[in-house]
Structures are given as C-alpha cells and as structure tokens.
C-alpha cells in the first residue's frame, strides 16, 4: 500500500481554484478531499506541534 510522503508541499486548492496552505486546525474541505486531506491535515498538525515544542524549548533555553 502507498505510504504517504510529506503532503504539505502539494498545491492544495479551494473549490474556487485558489491555493491554500494546510492549516493545523484542519477544515471540512480537507476532510472532503479524503485520504490525502486527512493525512495532510495531520502532518500540518504535527508540524505545528513540533514548531510549538521547539518554540517552548527556545523560550526555556532563553529563560535559562
């Protein structure tokens, strides 16, 4: 079965044809895309989580 690469580089488009970045909060539109939308959303969520962790880490290091 297909294993998913990083999908966040894909050019996601709205129904009106405008490109958009996958938001970590997800959207109904992403759910409607199906497998790729769900996985991309989770990747975006994970990426945001990592970034948040890193940010917290940086803040901690600064405060230390």
């Amino acid at each position: 079965m297909e294993q998913f690469p990083n999908l966040l580089d894909l050019d996601f488009k709205t129904t009106t044809g405008e490109s958009f970045q996958v938001p970590p909060e997800g959207s109904l539109g992403l759910l409607a895309i199906g497998d790729i939308g769900v996985i991309a959303w989770r990747q975006a969520r994970e990426k945001a989580r990592q970034e948040k962790l890193e940010e917290i880490q940086r803040k901690r290091e600064k405060s230390d």
């Binding site: 129904t15 909060e25 759910l31 199906g34 769900v38």
Partner: protein, 855 residues
C-alpha cells in the same frame, strides 16, 4: 475498448425536498453537475423503512424476506444474546459477491450491515470501521475482521478520524455560534462532531481505494445525512412554533451544512473517476423536511423512522446514461439488477427488482438465470466470526442504535431483550411481506405476535389491515374492537380505522360519516383522511366529490402515488381520458411497481385510441404480474384487432390459457331465483361447496343459504379464490364481472320470472320485518333494473373465453328436477349423481308463482 466501471454512492436519507432549495441556492454544485450531466429521480423505498433492511435490498435486489435482514438487531446465532445485524445475517449474495465471482475487482466501504468484512475480490471495509465508541484518539482500537484483506487493517486505520480530533474549523460550518454552547450541558455539538468524523473516516478510506487500486465496482455508504436530519431537521428553517428560538438560532444550519459537506465529498469522488465510469448516487428513503414530519416520535422501537419519507433519490451519470433527464418509477430493489445489466451479467428470476431501462441511452436485452445463489464460484460470502472476537465492538454498536432511538434500551434481563428482539424482527418480517404483496405469510406471524402481546396495538393494527386485505372482515372487525378496548388510540383515530373497514365492507355512506366526523380531529398528514373520503365518493360514484377530496390530499402530500392513481380512476370513470392518463402516469412515476396503475394507463390509452402506447403499458403490467389475465385479454384484442400483430396476440392468448389455475363452479342469479337450492343440488350430487355455514336455514331458505361471507368482498378481494377451486360457490349475479380471469368458470345461472323474483324478495323482507311496497303493485323500475343487470351479466359471460354459462330455469327445476339434474351434470362433465341432485328439490318451496299474463 473502454472498461465498464460503476461507482455506487449511498447517502442514507437524502431527500429531494431538502436538497432542491440547497442546490438551487448554489450550495451543492457537484450534485447539480451530476444531475445536469445525467438522469435524476426519486427512488421508492420499501417498508419497513429501516436502513439495514433497505440497504440489504439495494445490494441484493431482493426483499427482506428473501435476504434475511429483518431489523437493526437480531438474536445471535447461539440464541443467548442480541447483536447488531451483520453481513453474516444476510442469506443471499450481495452485488459485490456476484461481481467478485464474475471476476470483477470490487471494493465496498461502510455498507450497512457489512461486519465482518466479506472476503471479496477486492477491499471490503465494514461498518465498524468508523465507530469511535468511548475511546480517545490514542486508544482507539479497530475490531477484528473490519478490513479485508486483514493485512491492510493497519494501513487503513490511519484514515479514521476520531471525533475528538475535530476542531472549530470543522464544526463552525455546521454551527456558526458554537462558541456560545455550554458543552457540559448540551451534547448536540458533540453529536455533529461524531457524525462528521465517522463520515470523514469512511470517505478517506474509500478515496484511497479508488485512487490507488484497480477497480471495476466500488461502493460507499454514508449515514451522515440521516444522522444530521434525525438530530437537527427540527431546527431546519422555517422556524416552527414548538421549537425554542434559542435552539433554532444555534442549530438551524446543521442540515444544510451536512448536505454541503456531502456535496464536497461527492465533488472529490467525481474528480477521482474517469469518463468510463457510471456513477450512481442513491438514498434508501427520504427524510420529511416539512409539515409531513411528525411533531412527536411514537414511543415504539424504531420510532424515529416515522420521520422518513418513502422517496429517496437516484442520480446517475455515465457513458451510456441519458443526459439531463428525469427517471421515473425507480425503486431501491432495482439497483442491483441495473448494475448487473451495466456489466452485461444475467439477471436472476429470484430478484424482485427490475433493470432501470430508462436510465440508459441504449440497452441490450438481459439474459435471465433462475438465481445467482446457485451459480458456483468464489463469491466471497462472509464467514460467521467467533462471538468472543470483539464483544465490545458489538456492544458499542448496540449503544449507538439505542442512542439513535432505533432500538429500545437493552434490558438488564437478557432473556427479555432476546424476546423483544425476536418479536421486532418478526414484526418487521411481516411488514416486509405485506409490502411485497404477500399477505398470507404475514398473517400467522402477526397472529402470533398479537397473541403474545395483546396490549401491543401496532401488532393488532397490522393484523386488522391484513384481515381486511384478504377480505376476512369478521376477524378484521374483531381486531378493531380489540383495539378500541385497548384504549391506546384515540376515538377519531379508531373511527378512521373503522371507516377503512366499512369501505372494505362496501358501506361507503357509513364510512363517510365517520371520516367527516374525524376529519377535524385527526392529523390529516398521518391519517390520510381525505384519501379515505375520496375512496368513499368513488364507491358512491360521486367522482367530482372524490376529485375534490383528492385535491386536498395532494396539497398535503403531492407525492403519494395512490392519490394520483385514484385521481386517474375518477377521471377514467368520468370518461375524461386525457387527465386520467396523466394521473396514471404520475402514479407510475412515483411508484413504478404498480401493475394496476400500468393496466389502468393501458386501459385509458386504449379508450383514447392510442393502441400502440396502450399495448406498451399493458406489456409492463403483464411483465410485472404474468398472471394478469385481464391485461392479457386486452392485449389480445389490441394485437389482433388494431395493431395487426397476430403472433403477439397468439402468444398472449396462449399465456392467458396457461395462467388458468383451475375451474370454479359458480352458482349465480338474482336473489330468490333458487341459487341456494342449486347449491344444495350440486352438494348432494357430489360436488364440494365453498361455504362458511354462517347463514343457516330459516323460513326464507329452508335448505340453508350455502353462502360464504368472503364472496361479498369479491370486488376488492380475490385472495379466497384458490380455496374455491374445484368447488361450487354462490356468487350473486351482479358480482360475476368481478371474477378474475385466472380460473375457468362454469356458471350455473338460475333464471326465474322476474315478477316471481320481486314477489319472493318482498315476502322475504316481510318475514324479516322490513317494510316493502304495496304487494299488488308491480315494481316496474325494480324489474327493469333486474333486466338491465341480467343483460350486463350475460354480456360479460359472452365476452370471456374462460366463462361458460348454463342458464337454468327455476320453474323447470321445480317441475322436472331429474331432467334438469341430467342437463346440469352434462354441463359439469358428468361428475355428479343426478338422482341425488333431484332428491333435493321440493316443489312446495315454489311459493310465489307468476301471475298469468293477461291479454
């Protein structure tokens, strides 16, 4: 050469009445495009309108009494517990099994019921895939046998969306003011999240399959619309007075958003298929968005199903599908035969549905086999799982069904739950039989249920309806009396039932009084009282009044096929053929599976001189009911006299003959012409008689009446005729034309001087204490009416090849009994003993002799 592919999408409870305003406002562009590029129409459901039963009929082309799914839950095979219905509960092959064994790559996702996943030639994902139960995203297990092949289970797991994962971004489109909700007190937003996550899970798995796998047939079933509607249709605009304004403001957009979400998913699916794919989108039933939805849900199992409407949707688009057309007369049982025809596979005689030929640009005549069940090959039928496999999953499913109101809360005493479940399944089975026109097998089931649960009004009510349908009016009345005693239904509701019974007894005046009385007190949408009033007027030959009542009914519900059919009948009776044809066409459009409507359309077109069209309609009627001999008779006439197609005429003539199921010996005549005496002669001579012995001998008929109560119901009830086969039955003269052409009739028709008849009838009435006209006044009008009636009966007898009549003079029988007995015996192929027949006759019984005619 292009490869044939079919994508089947199921949206539970999708309904045009809800969709059209949303689509018109541009909020369902994918569906709009599908409709414009293909055909669309209503899809008639079956009764009971319970989703697992219907989706199994969709997948098999068979009614529930053939496929074996009889409800939401069932007693487990070991008899010790209750479980949700499963794929293993289905006794017959689904379309995916047939296609699998025919070598097609087939995938199916989320069908209800479909657990355990069936080992088909492709991927199957069961209806337990998406259920999150009480889990969290981190401890969400997937039950065993959810995915076939099992080695793909872990891969597909990743597509499941847990309700807790959803964020405001997902839910605000449904509930824009979600932030105002106190989530501890109001669980409704959580239910939106649950439904949305479940639908998204199945859609994600399915998109992956059709995007990455080879396939010929792929099917997905989504129950989101049904759940959004059950939860939130009451808040859907317009605001109803009994709904709190605060609730309306919060939740009025959920249903619209639910449809929009499904449209977005549809758009994606359409992106993923090529031009060789036939796309079919269906729903199993509709959901009343308007005043037809009951305000209060009845407190009985599966009560929420009262919110369903009988018409779902069908939309189809594809290489051989007509463009921008409306499809009429489609039913849920037609889907599997239609898909088989797309793949060029044979249809099966044991399927109840038909190919929806009007979907296609062109279609080849399908071949026919007796049954797919007998065709060998690896079909991937499901295997009963070990019950200990995943009891938690089953428990969770039961809980969900309870929450939705489809089943009662499970009793802590398992034996009670088991009994309750068994009864519900049996009740649903009886309803399915009734819906399929099989009344006889429904009756013993309902009798047993009514006996077991005498206080359960719904069992007795259905039973009363069945009794009425088979013409057992005595049992019907006793059931209604029982219902009155139960005090479950209010007076006016019972009056409506009583009125229906009176219609059955052909007492339209009394029925009309009851309906008029009840009219202002009952809910017109559920009681259908205007339709009943129209029926009364029809029986009274007051066709204009019937039309007025039907117009009222149409305002309440324009989609009831029976209303259109009755309207057509009223216009036909008034010899206004153009509107009659139009209404019959409407009725057929709403319910194609009505052979009577096709016949009536054929009859009307024949009277309009449209012989070709008439033959088409009649051909449909006989294709649905091959024994429909009245239709065959008209077809013979059409082909022989008007269409110059003698071969077809001969074919129908021979089928007419082969449809004859035997001979019934009929004794007929006007009342007081010696019919009871003739019945006794035949009986004594050795012929079995069809009587109920209810009306015993009296002064008016010292030999007894030899009648059967059910015969009086002949105009609407012919189910008793098989019991009268090879027997003598007394049928009053004016009922003779109602004898259906499925039997040969040898009619011994008693004739008597009409003056004697009238005098004898008068004497009889006097003996019964009923007033009559002055004795010595010859009632000329009555005699004329009798003459007219006799003329009509004789004309009827001459017209029908299956009717032979021997006219016997009453006077001759009295004066020369043996001679007449010989004559009758000859007519009845020498099967009687004339000397015994003659012994019956007592000349003293001939009390009213004709006065000598003067001049």
């Amino acid at each position: 050469m292009s490869k044939k592919k079919v994508l089947l999408i199921g949206w539970d409870a999708a309904d045009w009445k809800a969709i059209n305003p949303i689509m018109d406002s541009g909020e369902m562009p994918a569906l709009q495009g599908l409709v414009e590029q293909g055909v669309a129409g209503k899809l008639l459901t079956i009764d009971p309108p319970y989703s697992p039963m219907i989706w199994s009929s969709i997948a098999t082309g068979k009614r529930p009494y053939k496929h074996g799914i009889h409800g939401f839950t069932e007693v487990a095979p070991d008899g010790k517990s209750v479980r949700p219905v499963m794929s293993t509960s289905r006794k017959v092959k689904g379309i995916w099994n047939i296609l699998s064994q025919s070598g097609y790559k087939t995938h199916v996702v989320g069908w209800w019921p479909s657990h355990p996943a069936e080992p088909i030639n492709g991927i199957a994902i069961s209806d337990m895939f998406q259920k999150a139960k009480q889990s969290t995203p981190s401890n969400w297990k997937m039950p065993k046998d959810t995915v076939h092949p099992a080695e793909y289970s872990d891969f597909f797991k990743q597509f499941r969306v847990h309700p807790h994962e959803l964020t405001g971004e997902h839910l605000i489109p449904f509930v824009p003011n979600a932030a105002k909700i106190d989530l501890k007190r109001d669980k409704r937003l959580m239910s939106v999240a649950k439904v949305t996550a479940e639908v998204a899970s199945l859609h994600a798995a399915f998109t992956n399959i059709i995007r990455t796998q080879e396939w010929d047939f792929a099917a997905i079933y989504l129950d989101g619309i049904d759940h959004y509607c059950h939860g939130f249709m009451k808040y859907h605009p317009p605001h109803r007075p009994h709904i709190s304004k605060a609730d309306f403001d919060l939740y009025n957009y959920v249903v619209t958003a639910g449809y929009r979400f499904h449209d977005m998913m549809l758009r994606r699916l359409l992106e993923l298929v090529d031009d060789d794919t036939t796309v079919i989108l269906i729903s199993d039933h509709g959901f009343q968005p308007d005043h037809l939805r009951p305000r209060n849900i009845p407190r009985e199992p599966a009560g929420p199903a009262y919110e369903h409407s009988p018409h779902g949707i069908i939309v189809a688009k594809g290489p051989n599908i007509r463009k921008d057309e409306v499809v009429y007369g489609a039913s849920v049982i037609d889907i599997t035969p239609t898909i088989l025809s797309i793949f060029g596979l044979p249809l099966a005689e044991d399927m109840d549905g038909k190919v929806l030929v009007n979907l296609f640009e062109k279609i080849e005549e399908p071949t026919l086999i007796p049954s797919w069940e007998d065709v060998p090959g690896e079909a991937g039928m499901p295997v009963e799982p070990d019950v200990s496999d995943d009891p938690d999953a089953q428990k969770a499913m039961l809980e969900q069904l309870e929450q939705l109101g489809y089943i009662d809360k499970q009793d802590s005493d398992m034996s009670k739950s088991i009994e309750k479940t068994r009864r519900e399944c049996e009740f649903n089975l009886a309803r399915a039989y009734i819906d399929g026109g099989e009344i006889e097998p429904a009756i013993p089931i309902l009798e047993k249920l009514a006996e077991e649960m005498p206080d359960e009004a719904r069992f007795r009510f259905r039973l009363a309806t069945c009794y009425q349908m088979i013409g057992d009016l005595k049992k019907c009345r006793s059931s209604i009396d029982h219902l009155r005693a139960l005090d479950v239904y209010d007076g006016p509701t019972l009056d409506v039932m009583e009125g229906s019974l009176l219609i059955g007894e052909r007492q339209p005046r009394k029925a009309l009084e009851l309906f008029r009385e009840a009219e202002t007190k009952v809910d017109p949408t559920t009681s259908r009282v205007s339709l009943q009033i129209a029926r009364c007027y029809m029986l009274l030959s007051r066709f204009q009044d019937a039309i007025r009542a039907l117009e009222i009914e149409m305002e309440i519900d324009p989609d009831n096929p029976m209303t259109h059919q009755l309207m057509g009948t009223a216009y036909l009776k008034m010899q206004e053929y153009a509107p009659a044809a139009e209404y019959f066409l409407n009725a057929i459009g709403l319910d194609y599976h009505s052979p009577v409507a096709h016949f009536q359309l054929g009859q009307t077109l024949y009277l309009m001189g449209k012989y070709e069209e008439s033959s088409n309609a009649l051909e449909v009627a006989v294709s649905m009911v091959p024994e429909y001999n009245i239709a065959r008779e008209l077809l013979v006439k059409l082909y022989r006299t008007y269409l110059d197609e003698p071969e077809k005429a001969n074919m129908h003539e021979s089928k007419f003959a082969s449809n004859i199921k035997g001979t019934i010996y009929v004794v007929s005549g006007l009342p007081r012409t010696g019919t009871s005496m003739m019945m006794q002669m035949l009986h004594k001579g050795g012929l079995d008689v069809f009587t109920d012995g209810e009306r015993g001998a009296d002064d008016n008929n010292p030999l007894g009446y030899y009648e059967h109560e059910v015969v009086k119901s002949l105009p609407r009830n012919k189910r008793w005729l098989p019991k009268a086969k090879d027997k003598a039955v007394k049928v009053i003269a004016n009922l003779l034309p109602n004898l259906p052409p499925q039997y040969n009739y040898k009619v011994v028709f008693m004739e008597r001087n009409l003056y004697e008849v009238v005098t004898s009838q008068r004497k009889m009435l006097q003996r019964m204490g009923k007033s009559t006209q002055q004795e010595d006044v010859l009632p000329t009008r009555l005699v004329q009416s009798f003459e007219q009636s006799l003329k009509q009966v004789k004309a009827w007898a001459n017209k029908h090849p299956n009717v032979e009549v021997l006219y016997v003079q009453h006077k001759e029988v009295i004066e020369n009994p043996f001679e007449q007995a010989l004559r009758i015996n000859e007519f009845l192929d020498y099967q009687l003993l004339p000397e015994l027949m003659a012994e019956v006759v007592d000349s003293k019984l001939h009390r009213e002799r004709a006065k000598p005619v003067e001049g």
